[in-house]
C-alpha cells in the first residue's frame, strides 16, 4: 500500500530503499538555576561543540565528494567562533551548558530560516549539531546516522521534517 511522506529533502535526487527512522532529538533537562563555576560550565559547552566538530571532521574523511563537503561544512558550523562566543555569553548570563547551546543554535537557525531558500535548508544541519552537542552534554546516546550496510532512506520527524536519502558507513 502506498503511503506519502511529506518533508524537506536533505539531499537532491530520487532514491528507493527501506525507510529508517532516526532517534528523536534529546530533550532538554529542567533549567539548572545555580551555575557555581561559570568558567567550567562555559568550557563544557564549548568543549561539546568542539567534540561534535571533530567527530564530523572524522566522518568527512571517511566519505568522498558531496557527502564529504556537507560534513566539512557541518563541522565548521559546530566549530564556528561566533557560535562559541554566543554560547559562552549565554553561560555567563546564567544559563547551563545544554540550554546555552540550544539557545545559541536556535538564534542562528532563525536567521537562516528567515533568509529562505538554500539557507533555510541548512537549518536542518543546525538541528543535527544541536542534537549531537546536547546529547554529549547530557551523556545521552548520540543521535544521528548510525552505521548501516545497505542504503536506506533516513526519516526524521522533529521540529522540521526531513527525509535524508543515503547512507554513511562509519
Amino acid at each position: 500500500m502506498a503511503r506519502w511522506l511529506h518533508g524537506l529533502g536533505v539531499s537532491g535526487g530520487e532514491a528507493v530503499g527501506p525507510v529508517a527512522r532516526l532517534a528523536p532529538p534529546p530533550a532538554l533537562p529542567p533549567v539548572t538555576d545555580h551555575i557555581v563555576a561559570v568558567a567550567d560550565e562555559a568550557a563544557r559547552a564549548v568543549g561539546a561543540l568542539a567534540a561534535v566538530a571533530e567527530d564530523l571532521q572524522y566522518r568527512a574523511a571517511t566519505v568522498d565528494g558531496a557527502a564529504s563537503d556537507v560534513l566539512i561544512a557541518q563541522s565548521m558550523i559546530a566549530a564556528d567562533p561566533v557560535l562559541m562566543d554566543g554560547v559562552t555569553e549565554l553561560v555567563e548570563a546564567g544559563q547551563d551548558a545544554p540550554h546555552a547551546v540550544d539557545a545559541a543554535m536556535a538564534e542562528h537557525r532563525r536567521a537562516l530560516e528567515a533568509a529562505g531558500g538554500y539557507l533555510a535548508e541548512r537549518a536542518a544541519d543546525l538541528d543535527d549539531i544541536r542534537d549531537r552537542a546536547v546529547a554529549r552534554l547530557l551523556g545521552l546516546p548520540m543521535p544521528g546516522i548510525p552505521s548501516c550496510w545497505s542504503p536506506v532512506i533516513w526519516r526524521r520527524q522533529t521540529r522540521q521534517r526531513s527525509i535524508r536519502p543515503g547512507c554513511w558507513r562509519s
Binding site: A73, I77, D80, V82, H108, L112, A115, G117, L119
Partner: protein
C-alpha cells in the same frame, strides 16, 4: 582600513563548498578579515554561519576589509578565493 571589492565567481554563490573554502582561508590569515555585501554590515569572515547568512550570490559584489600587518596580502588571497569559480573547477 584597507578594503577590496570583488565579484563572487561561483554560480552557487558564497554557499556550500565556496563558503567553506573561503572561511577556511580566512581562518588561516594573521589578521581578522571582515566581509560585507555592498552597502551591508561587515561580518567576521571566519564565521561560516555569518558568511552563509550574507547570502552572497554568484555575480554579486562583496567588500573585504582587514587591518594590521599583512592586511593587504590577506585581502589579496581571500579576494582570489571569492572570485574563483569552484563550479567550473568541479566540472
Amino acid at each position: 582600513m584597507p578594503e577590496k571589492t570583488v565579484t563572487v565567481g561561483s554560480k552557487v554563490g558564497l554557499h556550500a563548498r565556496p563558503a567553506s573554502l573561503f572561511v577556511q582561508a580566512a581562518a588561516r590569515q594573521p589578521v581578522k578579515v571582515r566581509i560585507a555585501k555592498a552597502g551591508g554590515d561587515p561580518v567576521d569572515a571566519r564565521s561560516i554561519l555569518l558568511v552563509l547568512g550574507l547570502d552572497a550570490r554568484g555575480g554579486e559584489e562583496v567588500v573585504l576589509s582587514a587591518e594590521g600587518v599583512g592586511a593587504e596580502q590577506a585581502l589579496e588571497e581571500l579576494a582570489t578565493v571569492v572570485a574563483t569559480d569552484y563550479d567550473a573547477e568541479a566540472a
